[in-house]
Amino acid sequence: MRRFGQTIKDLWRDPMARVCIVGIFLIILTAVLAPVIAPYQPDHMIAAPKSAPAKDYLFGTDNYGRDVFSRVIYGARVSLWVGLIAVGIGAGAGYVVGMIAGYFEGWTDTVIMRIMDILFAFPSILLAILISTVLGRGLGATMVAIGIVNIPVFARTVRASVIAAKGLEYVKNAQSVGVKTVYVLIRHISPNVIAPFTVQSTLALSGAILTEAAMSFLGLGIQPPDPSWGSMLSEARAFMEQAPWMVIFPTIFIVITILLFNVLGDSLRDVLDPKLKL
């Protein structure tokens, strides 16, 4: 894992990346230490409903009178968790499938890509409903649903870059010298796959958090009363005028988190992609 340490050191030099790493660390910290940081329990009704931000409830209260600030903090825990695990599933499976399809071409490639087409062509909402029905609602189902929806996208991206990488000279050389296939895949081809893969995973992460919001909009995502940014947002939709803070603060947190991950993705791409040094 020397490379990983090296990547972090390189990343640290880029000021933008430094901001992101600190930002993301803070958010993860808030999520983990939610019970300590949050002044109230997320589902306790502490004041009159829909009251404006004030001293003892910084982000105001929602239509039940619960403290939006505590809910946003507890929400971080859920949204981040959903985002990371879902992208993990999607990226992991997608990477492996993409590699195999891209490298072995011919029959395996066609079969795999056709299965990917099936999953990809399937309207994601319906796929989400299927999975949440089979697995029962709540956190687990949402994560798996979003994960599976992401697999084809990753597979396609990875496959495209593997095919492109195979065309390069040095990969052909490695093959011609009789290097074991797995070694070629990992050692030679994957560095080329890393750049688009990183960009794709940061995009997928933002997509995952937004999809979680859409799913709770349809009543599929996180069940009340536990909060996630997405469900808070879809619940607050109807009160946009009288209680705008119910919408503003979750949106701000969603936007910030996704921005941080995406900018980190960019800097990571610059660091990881060997050709992009200067």
Binding site: G219, P225, R237, Q242
Partner: protein, 554 residues
């Protein structure tokens, strides 16, 4: 570069060709949004023809047609008055169809398609004299034959067989024995048993008079228009708008000032509020909290009336823990109804048990029942007596969904029951699932211990109690069954004398409330947010969609 541009064009060409084909007529009806299964049809919404105040200045017909723009929150499934039950369809049906009788705001009957009616002394037959010269939208004349055909269609005695009409139940027209056509404009209904609610049922849209020719030609009235109402069906663009236009040969045509009504689907509440504010839409429904925001707008007014719907928590009789009456009563004691009303309905609703106060004298006053005065301390003792304490809490799997008010009530009540060792595990079901679970709520297969519902008890207790609490009542899903209640309901149905019916129903209410199997919470108001341009529209519990006297200022 040239190649690139041609390529882009190619892609766009294919997509637009794909979009271009399949040009079809616009009157293709569409599957609707979730059925409001639990809010059963308002038996009472029949058009009201009482003498509305004569409009002072008769507006001369402006050049442009006067079309009322309605902001609908959901999509109708179809317009067959005998079978459809969603709120979205029930807005449009009263414009297209009419019934023999109507009920005014103080629930007195008046003749609509009927000129006069008399009841035989033994109460077993009703003779109705029809209004003459009334035309269907198809141009055929409305006569006794059409009335006979309409009721036989509901009872499944026409060639179409049973069409799944609600009216065929005993609680409606089930006990009509024969229908005689005395002459072209006189119809006689012979009943098998005395039914005091027969006249009130005649006002419901299940008793709408339809044109036999149109029914035979189209099979059903989901998309075809066989009514006599002031407006006829013009165009239906699924998931977008439904438009009805003025029926020239309506029998009371000079009273109708609007040239047409178009119901636009604006699913999103914030969007509806914006459309109302900009005048893009004249009238729409909003939830309690947004109504307060709309009331502040100077070009909008709010017309509201107390509905006969009520939010309730139904407990699954087959759940072991809930078989202990003390636990059920403890839950009833612990609920703070005013708190629910303040949070979920912004204070604009009234506490209620299983028969809402808006049904007038039929509803036993809430103060009579100690169970309905919040007493958390007593509830706590009852729960402790039943063996529950801080580390042995009762967890109930609660189903919610369909309406925001249902979802929010579940969350608020869960919070209120916390001190008496009860926790809700709320699951928001999506409408199809909600309806399915609703049927099984009396059995373990439901998979839920309780369910928050919004039921409509209508204007007559025969429906409010008969349908929901008799053992084989079609809406009695929570497994409640009491022989005495069944017996009382039969007796009440059989007598026409009001005071005795009231005594019977009061006793029923005592038994049902004491059992606390279904705990009433609040009866919400219905709101219409109306643009100041719309005049002459006064919605009431009896009739909330009568636009015969309405007109638009500019």
């Amino acid at each position: 570069m040239k190649k690139l541009l041609s390529l882009m064009l190619a892609v766009m060409m294919i997509a637009s060709v794909l979009a271009g084909c399949g040009k079809t007529t616009t009157t293709e009806p569409e599957a609707s949004t979730a059925p409001e299964a639990s809010t059963a049809p308002e038996a009472s919404t029949a058009p009201e023809a009482s003498t509305a105040p004569e409009a002072s200045t008769e507006p001369e017909a402006p050049a442009e047609p006067m079309i009322l723009r309605w902001g609908a929150d959901s999509e109708p499934t179809g317009f067959d008055p005998h079978t459809v039950s969603e709120e979205a369809s029930l807005r449009v049906i009263p414009q297209l169809y009419e019934t023999l009788l109507g009920q005014d705001e103080n629930l007195n009957y008046y003749g609509e398609l009927a000129e006069s009616w008399e009841v035989a002394p033994d109460g077993l037959s009703y003779t109705i004299k029809l209004r003459e010269g009334v035309k269907f939208h198809s141009g055929n004349e409305m006569d006794a034959e059409a009335v006979k055909y309409s009721f036989e269609r509901v009872l499944g005695r026409t060639e179409a067989g049973d069409i799944g009409a609600f009216g065929s139940k005993a609680t409606y027209f089930g006990n009509i024995d024969t229908i005689e056509v005395v002459d072209k404009y006189t119809v006689k209904f012979n009943l098998t048993t005395v039914t005091s609610v027969f006249l009130s049922n005649l006002c419901s849209n299940y008793g709408a008079i339809v044109d036999p020719a149109v029914v035979k030609e189209n099979g059903d009235l989901m998309r075809a228009d066989g009514g006599t109402g002031p407006f006829k069906l013009d165009e239906w663009m699924p998931n977008n708008y439904v438009s009805v236009v003025k029926f020239e040969e309506y029998w009371d045509a000079d009273r109708v000032k609007l040239d047409g009504i178009t119901y636009y689907l604006v699913g999103d509440e914030a969007a509806r509020l914006a459309a109302l504010r900009t005048g893009e839409v004249h009238i729409s429904t909003l939830s309690a909290s947004n109504v307060q925001a709309a009331a502040k707008e100077e070009n909008l007014t709010v017309a509201s009336y107390q509905t006969s719907n009520y939010i309730a928590i139904g407990l699954n009789a087959s759940t072991p823990a809930l078989q202990d009456k003390n636990v059920r009563q403890a839950i009833c004691y612990a609920i703070d109804r005013q708190n629910v009303i303040d949070i979920v309905f912004s204070g604009e609703a009234i506490p209620t048990h299983i028969i809402p106060p808006s049904t007038g004298h039929w509803s036993v006053p809430l103060e009579k029942y100690d169970l309905y005065t919040t007493n958390v301390e007593k509830a706590k003792q009852m729960m402790e007596a039943a063996g529950y304490n801080e580390n042995n809490r009762l967890t109930l799997k609660v189903a919610a969904g369909l309406l925001d008010s249902i979802r929010q009530t579940a969350v608020v009540v869960d919070q209120q029951l916390d001190p008496i060792y009860v926790d809700f595990e709320i699951v928001n079901l999506e409408s199809g699932e909600y309806v399915d679970v609703w049927y099984k709520m009396g059995t373990p297969e439901a998979g839920f211990d309780a369910m928050v519902v919004q039921d409509g008890s209508g204007t007559d207790p025969n429906r409010g109690i008969g349908m929901f609490f008799t053992t084989d009542g079609s809406a009695s899903v929570f497994g409640f069954s009491n022989a005495r209640v069944d017996e009382l309901c039969e007796l009440a149905l059989a007598t026409a004398d009001e005071p005795t019916r009231e005594a019977y129903y009061n006793e029923c209410q005592d038994i049902i409330i004491d059992d606390a199997g279904k705990i009433g919470v609040a009866s919400p108001m219905a709101y219409f947010v109306i643009s100041k341009d719309l005049q002459g529209f006064v919605p009431t519990l009896a009739d909330s969609s009568n636009y015969r006297d309405a007109w638009l200022e500019n």
